[in-house]
């Protein structure tokens, strides 16, 4: 199944039911079943995440609005004046929705329309991530990350410092590590228990995408000529360990990854438009999209890892069945 949407694909997601959804730069949300929702009319859509209920997606736009789009239509969850909402995170476990606009982060509860928390930062927030239970919210800024208890109103965040600009965040499933993708071509990690720093470098390009797989034993990232896979076994995580590169191909860069949280199975989207999957138990790389084209900008494995949705910079998109 493939689509030509004629707008930048910001995000590809699967609803809990297994239906694929695409959030586009032109402000629309498209369902693979054919519905189009005008989430941000006459505006741009900058970030998207699955709604905590598992139905529909929550998007932030350059109109300062945060919108929940289901196939039946859009619902505005919040609005700010003057700012862009360029980071969104959600948690199915806690039912919380977080979004960032400049230095401000707001948290909403999908089940309680009166709930609202606001966390202010000294620098603009570039990335958000809930831990696995959705209790803690990490916010990436210049100079480090701030970790907040997402439901608590008055608090001082735990600050994890590291020089440089932090752009994207990911928690390890056990909540022991927080990984940051930096403005430079490197990852930085913190062990929460003692704040120990981990530097993971050697990347030829910026890391735009990260995912844990195999029950948290491995983490895959983009930013190289294949998917980079770091071991996370044991107390020290990747410290002192070597990463391996899966699907190495010098002619292209992996720009998006998606992975099976349970099995050692990873998918990658490349900057030349190709898409592949790999079973790390040794079956090797299976190319699903061999046609080259615009860079892949969105990639998602379905909850059962039986389908893979992708989208590219020019609005090409599709869904593959994985055998």
């Amino acid at each position: 199944m493939s689509f030509a949407f004629d707008a930048y694909v910001v995000s590809a997601l699967f609803e809990r039911s297994g239906r694929a959804v695409f959030a586009l730069g032109d402000g629309t949300v498209r369902f693979e079943t054919g519905e189009t929702v005008e989430a941000h009319p006459d505006a741009g859509l900058l970030a998207a995440a699955l709604h905590p209920s598992g139905e529909g997606v929550v998007t932030g736009g350059d109109d300062g609005r945060i919108v929940w789009s289901r196939a039946s239509g859009p619902t505005e969850l919040g609005a700010l004046t003057g700012g862009w909402i360029d980071a969104v995170a959600t948690s199915a476990d806690s039912g919380l929705i977080a979004f960032a606009s400049g230095k401000r982060v707001e948290v909403l509860d999908a089940k309680d329309s009166l709930f609202r928390r606001e966390f202010l930062h000294e620098r603009s927030v570039a990335g958000l991530a809930f831990d696995a239970k959705g209790r803690k919210l990490a916010c990436a800024t210049y100079g480090g990350a701030a970790v907040w208890f997402a439901r608590i109103a008055d608090q001082k965040p735990q600050t994890l410092k590291w020089a440089g600009s932090h752009v994207g965040l990911l928690w390890s499933p056990d909540g022991r590590f927080l990984i940051s993708a930096m403005q430079e071509n490197a990852l930085h990690g913190w062990r929460l228990a003692d704040g120990k720093d981990m530097r993971m470098g050697g990347y030829p390009a910026k890391i735009k995408s990260m995912a844990f797989l195999a029950k948290g034993a491995l983490m895959a990232t983009s930013g190289s000529h294949g998917a980079v896979v770091w071991p996370f076994r044991g107390n020290n995580g990747p410290m002192g360990e070597q990463a391996t590169e899966v699907g190495y191909d010098e002619s292209a860069l992996a720009v998006r990854v998606s992975a099976d949280s349970g099995r050692p199975f990873v998918a990658a989207g490349l900057d030349d438009g190709r898409v592949w999957t790999a079973d790390l138990r040794g079956v090797g790389v299976t190319t699903l999209k061999a046609d080259k084209g615009p860079p892949i900008t969105a990639l998602a494995l379905s909850p059962k890892s039986d389908r893979l949705a992708w989208g590219d910079e020019d609005g090409g998109a599709g869904v593959f069945a994985i055998s």
Binding site: D26, L46, D62, G164
Partner: protein
């Protein structure tokens, strides 16, 4: 060389201190009938807002890069806003960045060379600095940012010329040219300059380095060594006392602003390519934080093509450009604009590159 896609969106940067006339110029760019749609990145929403254009606020957050290069700073807000704009491809044809009066232009420009995504999708066209004729000397005296904005410019709009005398204008132009010998100065009232003097300049485009104007190699009027010739554009008949205080190697009246100046170098003999490369690499590694802009056209011994380069702080781009024409004088020239430049050392280093 950066691999800039042919579809890269041109970006024009407008700088200038508060009240100089930036917003007036911006509004002219947006309202003139040119058929282009702009995305405008501003720090404060002022008196702008044209239906067909996209206006975005940004916070002027300067980030140091973690690469051990002390002057390698970028504007984090620009990276975020530009990456957001790239998700709306087709909505606009060009981008204008209006900075505040307090902005350092270095990080703005470096953003376009340092961030791979920005570099792949956009192309920094040029930096225009708007100054107002009546107050610019005072701003030069009291504001480091104002000095750097002038020194960094690809072109300077000398605005509000109706508020000062011709004599004062000449003095201002002399000061501006000494700080930035590369930037043409366009006199204007109410920022009324033809837009082609501001847009589509290719100020960072190596292919567009065709000529470093000879008059810029001539010390500014009133400077020691200045040669009055047809390029000078100065009315030689009138009383020179207007700018008499500018004479002498260090004009005492403006000593506070002497930290920034342009140094023009030239060489009639061909240059040894390896020696020149080693020299400029070392120069930018050591003095890069103080060198705001540099441009040059080099005659390399044994090479039929012109070696051209341009630099922003430590970021150097160079390439072999077109062939020297048979009727063209082959010579090397370079201009460095920066803080506390040791002109004698620069000249000695450059001349030592002779083959």
């Amino acid at each position: 060389m950066p691999e800039t896609a042919p579809t890269a969106i041109p970006v024009t940067v407008l700088t200038g201190y508060l009240g100089a006339g930036k917003t007036t110029l911006l509004n002219r760019i947006l309202t003139e009938d040119h058929g282009k749609r702009y995305a405008v990145i501003v720090n404060e929403f002022g008196e702008i807002g044209i239906d067909n254009d996209l206006v975005v606020g940004a916070d002027e957050e300067v980030f140091e890069m973690n690469n051990g290069c002390v002057c390698c700073t970028v504007r984090g807000d620009l990276i975020r806003v530009l990456s957001g704009l790239m998700k709306r491809k087709g909505r606009f044809d060009a981008i204008v960045v209006e900075t505040t009066g307090l902005a350092d232009p270095g990080p703005v420009a470096q953003t376009f060379f340092v961030d791979d995504d920005v570099k792949a999708r956009t192309r920094l066209d040029s930096v225009t600095t708007v100054v107002d004729a009546k107050h610019v000397l005072q701003r030069i005296a009291d504001s480091r940012e104002a000095r750097e904005q002038i020194a960094f410019a690809d072109q300077i709009v000398l605005n509000k010329t109706d508020l000062v005398s011709e004599g004062e204008l000449s003095e201002v132009e002399t000061r501006l040219r000494r700080m930035n010998p590369l930037a043409p100065i366009h006199r204007a009232e109410r920022a009324g300059v033809p837009l082609e003097t501001v847009l589509g300049r290719g100020g960072f485009d190596l292919e567009r380095i065709q000529e470093l104007q000879p008059e810029f190699l001539n010390p500014a009027h009133g400077e020691p060594g200045h040669v009055h010739d047809e390029h000078c554009g100065h009315d030689h008949g009138h009383d020179h006392s207007d700018h008499g205080h500018d004479h002498g190697p260090r004009g005492h009246a403006h000593a506070e602003a002497e930290d920034i100046k342009g140094v023009a170098l030239s060489l009639d003999r061909p240059v040894d390519g390896n020696r020149f490369t080693a020299w400029i690499d070392k120069l930018l590694a050591e003095k890069g934080p103080d060198i705001l802009r540099a441009k040059g056209i080099i005659d390399v011994k044994g090479e039929d093509r012109r070696l051209v380069f341009q630099a922003v702080h430590m970021i150097l781009e160079g390439d072999l450009q077109r062939e020297w024409r048979p009727d063209e004088k082959r010579w090397s020239r370079a201009v460095f604009i920066g803080r506390d430049l040791d002109e004698a050392a620069l000249r000695a280093g450059f001349e030592a590159c002779a083959a």
